[in-house]
């Protein structure tokens, strides 16, 4: 897929990441497709257990055992503006191989959710930052310290020189997340995967970090995949959005259409159920019935069926909806309300 002739930086097609466990097969990601373009932010939103973090980890090839990419492709283009530029399928690479190691950190980096646990407590911040820099660039120790200092200044940490010799536990949550971002940016990545970057932070700190990410994106034109459960953060940051439910794409589209004209019953329910800071609050919140099913007992047919207000008997429980674009829009949904099932159904769940 292309957008105005521009090829995507990263194109994920039909990604399936499965975890075969003793109790059964967990289909964490079960057929997901999306494109990421240079300088744009793709938001992936979903509730806990929908597989959104696994997507980020699949791209980088750092899925915990026994998980593995079962099917699908993750095509990475180093230079999307050049027609002939080489496209690499990351899903086919050996996760521990040389190529993946050179891509990781260098071209694609990841910001983790907990700034508390993602730094080593026994190495200084400077130590950890320069390690990343020296791994990917041929520079002396002194030069790496200088660029580490620059990075800390770039992400808005006061007294960067002094912070380099401090340990992660000496920094506050917000500063630690900034240091984490500095580390992710150390090699000027083209794609930054931010997995719940602000979930552990307070609202005022969250606002600072989101502003920082936006500024950095403007400065160096990187693409961002923002993974979060917070629809507010998505509305604030993303250009395009993918809504996930139980490993599948429920709906996707440009952020404005998705928030103002949601098509999938799940997206509609989700948007209605969040209390708005603007709402009066006397009336009851419309909520989605039931809870997210356990991964071992996925419902047959459409996985959202037991909670769906527009459940159609004989259709939704018999067939699995496929993800299709809605005609005349740039939105797409997997829902039988929009695309009645075909005669033959494939891949029963």
């Amino acid at each position: 897929m292309t957008e105005n002739g521009v090829q995507p930086l990263l194109s994920v097609q039909g990604l399936k990441t499965y975890f075969p466990t003793d109790e059964g097969l967990v289909r964490a990601v079960d057929g997901l497709s999306f494109d990421v373009f240079e300088g744009k932010t793709l938001g992936i939103v979903g509730e806990s257990g929908c597989g959104k973090s696994t997507v980020g980890r699949s791209i980088l090839g750092i899925i915990d055992k026994p998980g593995h990419v079962e099917a699908g492709s993750i095509v990475w283009r180093q230079n999307p503006s050049d027609e002939k530029s080489e496209a690499i399928d990351l899903a086919k690479q050996v996760p521990t191989g040389k190529l993946m190691r050179s891509i990781r950190g260098n071209f694609i980096s990841l910001i983790f959710q907990e700034p508390m646990t993602s730094f080593s407590p026994v190495h200084t911040i400077g130590n950890q930052l320069t390690e990343a820099i020296r791994l990917h660039r041929d520079v002396s120790k002194k030069e790496s310290y200088d660029s580490a200092e620059e990075l800390l200044a770039l992400v808005g940490i006061p007294n960067p020189r002094q912070r380099l010799s401090e340990y992660s536990f000496q920094l506050s949550g917000g500063l630690r997340q900034r240091a984490m971002i500095a580390m992710a940016l150390s090699c000027d990545p083209k794609l930054l995967i931010a997995d719940e970057p602000t979930t552990a932070l307070d609202v005022t700190t969250q606002a600072q970090i989101l502003d920082l990410l936006r500024d950095l994106q403007e400065k160096n034109g990187m693409a961002i995949i923002l993974i979060t459960h917070n629809l507010g953060v998505i509305a604030e940051m993303a250009d395009d959005v993918v809504v996930m439910y139980l490993g599948r794409e429920a709906e996707s589209g440009p952020v404005d259409d998705l928030f103002h004209n949601p098509q999938h019953p799940y997206t509609q329910g989700l948007l209605r159920s969040i209390p708005s800071i603007y709402s009066k609050g006397e009336e009851k919140l419309p909520s989605i019935e039931g809870t997210i099913p356990h991964p071992f007992n996925r419902p047959s047919g459409c996985t959202f069926r037991p909670r769906c207000p527009s459940f159609m008997e004989g259709t939704c429980d018999q067939h699995v909806p496929t993800f299709q674009n809605i005609d005349g829009t740039s939105q797409g949904v997997s829902c039988f309300l929009h695309h009645p099932p075909q005669e033959v159904t494939t891949n029963g769940s």
Partner: protein, 357 residues
Amino acid sequence: MVAEPEATTSASETPFLEVKNLKKWFPIQKGFLKRTVGHVRAVDDVSFKVMPGETMGLVGESGCGKTTTSRCILRAVNPTSGQVLFNSEERGIVEVTDLKRPQLRELRREMQMIFQDPFGSLNPRMTLLDIVGEPLLVHGMSSRSDRADRVAELLRLVGLRPEYMRRFPHAFSGGERQRIGIARALALNPRLVVADEPVSALDVSVQAQVINLLQDLQESLNLTYLFVAHDLSVVRHISERVAVMYVGKIVEMGPTEDLFNNPKHPYTSALLSSVPVPDPRMRSTRIALQGEVANPANPPSGCYFHPRCSYAVDRCREESPVLEDIGGGRSVACLRVNEIELPGLGDTHSKAPSAGA
């Protein structure tokens, strides 16, 4: 030191709960002899009232002392100084801070707590019958079959099936566990329920269910809530009055609508504008608040908020503001309250978003 916010609530009724100059300072100890070298002023001179049947929201960022305040009220921790007055059904106004253990236990029938973490607050080795029935046992309902009847009733009340009573908590999802926690809190028919971040660990779709449940229960059981949360949208939805805390002090208090639409303290205003709104058309005109929350062990001079405040003047560095009544049931602790105009939700954005379809 602090002016009593006398006129904050309708004067005709006696408050259900009154907190007066509550302080909780945790000592910082150092060295072999554990000498006290300083104090973390977790709660520093907090006063407010809660009227019967209302929901009072307590908001603030992490470390502002909102949880410690709520724990002091229940005497889960003993306050350093100050008074907590509770209007008990049986014995009129009681000073909670002076009670001895047996009387405290009696009083706890009337005040209960819902905890934040639905995974940590339920003992994994106890069945629902034991968990929800434990307060009943402690308060003298010794017959197991009576307890089972009451537990069944409670589970039905919170929307769980009574047949689940013999199961263990691990069999339930986050939202269901939070319902179990609510059932346990309601076991003794309390009148005051302190809910400490009851929905922040839950998924969005489940969060709405639990908020609705809390509101239904308040109506049917005539409960009074002290609702502690950091999520301003949730607080706006559920509470009638709100107190905003910053580094152990209340900086602003008032009816929810007024306070959100027309904040009088720069911190409230900044906090409101930091909340990401689920509407891409309202990408914010936000007030970027610089810096970090002050350290309660070593707070700045004068007004604790002055290093981050864009309205701060020299006076703010020297004088500490006190919480003053400004009429309309509102009180603010800001030296420049009459000099500055602050943006609230009323005017930063002209219209309310139309969330959903």
